[in-house]
């Protein structure tokens, strides 16, 4: 089952999403543009789940047959009935959607266990990985971005820009292999496979998560640094910064206390959107490091042709992604009234 940290992260995420969605709802029902957005959200969710559902039916062959390849016709009949293949397509979708919303994702036909059980565990592991990666990326990118903006145009800034541009061109799996070779295989400092729960052994847990988190974080450090740098350069030209300088405040105080907050909107939006995208986007890293998260689960389901599991994974990842984006969008417009008014005016 979920270990402690995974559970906490999972609960936190659910709380954030629920609060976010409620906030968006409250806001949305207030304005015409908001109601329109909400309607769009519902349509997108329906179409996305419909796409995930129809994957099973787009795949070649009889879905029941793929689950029990050597069964006789008579043995297949109860399976067909269980999946509901004897009903009309749209009724099947409706049934599937109702089950999906209630958290019933069907059964894994190789282990005969509900898909839900393994997905719960995997989601916890994926969330931890994303959380560590984002934490690392922000912890390094914020000071670097501030420094780059402060030293804009100098050699430090130019080298930083070039390094960031290079880092963006390296796919995460290439970073992963370089890290594995030098730090794990040759250095022997880090393990390269498997997952250890935080509750089992905290030190081992972080050792196992370090390389995957760094692999994901590198390109993001570069992107976040550049985003913060360009916003910060604009902020540093504002009058209140001149005012702060005139008051004789130290550079450190001006940068961290006065300039950072107004410059961090784009950065935080990008980070939040990334968080949603990484739930499915960390697939390759999870596979390379054999971390049993959502990505590895999806790949395994595709490879072993567990199509009801594939449906559940794709639907879950897409729904999480859509809800997360909608939430960021909503929270963003609550925080920054300029955007809310711009959108209302545009609509």
């Amino acid at each position: 089952m979920l270990d402690a940290l995974g559970t906490i992260l999972g609960i936190l995420l659910i709380l954030v999403v629920v609060v976010g969605v409620l906030g968006v709802l409250a806001l949305a029902l207030g304005t015409r543009a908001g109601r329109k957005k909400l309607l769009q959200l519902i349509i997108v969710l329906l179409v996305v789940t419909f796409f995930s559902f129809s994957l099973l039916h787009l795949t070649p062959g009889d879905p029941a047959r793929t689950q029990k390849p050597f069964a006789t016709e008579a043995q297949l009949r109860p399976i067909r009935k269980e999946i509901g293949l004897d009903k009309p397509f749209l009724v099947q979708y409706k049934d599937w959607l109702f089950d999906f919303v209630r958290g019933d994702f069907g059964k894994d036909y190789s282990t005969n266990l509900p898909v839900k059980d393994s997905i719960g565990q995997q989601l916890g592991i994926s969330l931890q990985l994303i959380f560590y990666a984002q934490f690392l990326a922000l912890a390094l990118a914020i000071p670097l971005g501030i420094l780059a903006a402060y030293k804009a145009g100098t050699w430090f800034d130019k080298i930083g820009n070039a390094a960031a541009f290079g880092a963006i061109a390296i796919p995460p799996f290439v970073i992963a292999f370089v890290l594995i070779f030098y730090l794990a295989v040759q250095g022997g400092w880090f393990p390269t496979q498997q997952y250890v729960a935080f509750g089992t052994d905290p030190a081992e847990h972080f050792k196992h998560m370090f390389l995957p988190a760094v692999s994901l974080a590198i390109a993001q450090i570069a992107i976040y640094m550049r985003l913060l740098r360009s916003d910060m350069i604009q902020t540093l030209q504002e009058d209140f910064i001149t005012m702060a300088k005139a008051k004789g405040l130290t550079n450190r105080r001006i940068l961290w206390r006065h300039a950072l907050r107004p410059s961090s909107f784009t950065l935080l939006t990008a980070a939040a959107l990334n968080f949603g995208a990484l739930i499915g986007g960390a697939v390759v890293i999870e596979v390379v490091f054999q971390l049993p998260g959502m990505g590895l689960g999806l790949v395994t389901a595709v490879a072993t042709r567990q199509y009801s599991a594939v449906q559940a994974y794709v639907a879950l990842i897409a729904v999480a992604f859509v809800l997360f984006n909608a939430m960021v969008d909503g929270v963003y417009s609550v925080l920054d009234p300029r955007i809310r008014h711009a959108r209302v005016a545009a609509a």
Binding site: V47, F51, A169, S230
Partner: protein, 335 residues
């Protein structure tokens, strides 16, 4: 830009007068500062050193990929017993005569992989598949996404709303997950290379569609479009002859980034055990073939050779995208 328009077009003169700057990004898009190399917007006709380097690398690759069969290199599936014994370019191999040699000295400049294949040959033949997938998928994305974006941005209203909803829905599923599920669906029905191209093309449609639409929205408001309409030009003619040439730089810039993304995605799918089969060399395939050697600590050069080709290609494409953007002062949307 204006020079690509016919001289008789009334729009040309106006576009020149107005200048070609002033593109505004769609209100719903976030500008990504992260992917720029810091190339400053300029009207200079000369290309910088970096741009030439990128062009030389890409053109060299394309020429080598096309000319692969007549180049003095081994076949991609030819096996050499000498490299089967030692793979790294400078590893020592003992010769029957009692001396030692290296794969490099034997003419295998980048060494070989565990199957005894010559890596340079694998990389060049791999460039064929990687580039076909990259450019093929994006070409499809430009055709479909470009057409949708142009129609949506030009006609607006209901047509636009439907197209935007369609593109948004396609963006709602994370790209790699979409590619993964599409390959699962098409597997076994069409050749592997086509599955990859189709799956990755479908992913690129919404990205190119959005950028085309956002730019079309702006350009079709311009005076030269009104002028062309007043002269009695048909919608289709205005779209293709007046609006499209101005939207092309933005599409081209995003398309270059897109090719880079698709090349990385091909490699990623290969690592997931989905995609091209083992006899079809690709850069992702090279990395996948060298994975076990790397994790066992035998040699890392196979993975690094594949990675280096991917890295330099993505770097060149990203840089050129940035040069195009700076040259035409494109302010565009996020991927």
């Amino acid at each position: 830009m204006p020079e690509s328009q016919p001289p008789e077009s009334a729009g040309t003169a106006l576009a020149d007068e107005m200048g070609t700057t002033g593109l505004v990004a769609d209100a719903f898009t976030v500008e990504i500062a992260g992917v720029t190399a810091g190339v400053q917007p300029t009207r200079k006709k000369r290309l910088g050193f970096g741009a030439w380097l990128a062009i030389v690398w890409l053109v060299g690759l394309i020429v080598a990929a096309i000319a692969a069969p007549i180049l003095p290199i081994a076949g991609p599936n030819e096996t050499f017993t000498s490299i089967q014994r030692a793979q790294a370019p400078f590893a020592t191999i003992s010769t029957p005569g009692g001396g030692t040699t290296t794969p490099f000295a034997e003419g295998h400049l980048l060494g070989g992989d565990r199957n005894g294949h010559d890596l340079l040959s694998r990389a060049i033949y791999g460039a064929r598949n990687s580039l076909i997938v990259g450019f093929g998928a994006i070409a499809f994305g430009i055709l479909v996404g470009g057409l949708l974006g142009l129609i949506g941005g030009y006609y607006r209203g209901r047509v636009d709303a439907v197209i935007v909803a369609f593109l948004d829905i396609m963006l709602a599923i994370p790209a790699l997950v979409l590619a993964l599920s599409l390959t699962a669906v098409f597997r076994g029905r069409v050749p592997d290379l086509w599955i990859l191209v189709i799956a990755l093309a479908i992913i690129s449609v919404p990205v190119l569609g959005r950028i085309t639409r956002a730019n079309t929205l702006v350009w079709s408001e311009r005076e030269f479009v009104t002028a062309a309409r007043a002269q009695g030009a048909k919608n289709w003619r205005i779209m293709t002859r007046e609006v499209l040439p101005n939207v092309l730089p933005a599409m081209f810039s995003i398309a270059l980034l897109g090719v880079a993304v698709v090349i990385a995605a091909e490699a990623a799918l290969r690592l997931l055990g989905i995609g091209l089969s083992i006899t079809d060399p690709s850069w992702g395939g090279i990395i996948n073939d060298g994975r076990d050697f790397l994790t066992q600590g035998i040699t890392a050069h196979v993975v690094f050779v594949g990675s280096a080709f991917i890295f330099f290609t993505i770097l060149s494409l990203n840089y050129l995208a940035d040069v195009v953007r700076a040259r035409f002062d494109v302010r565009e949307a996020a991927i």
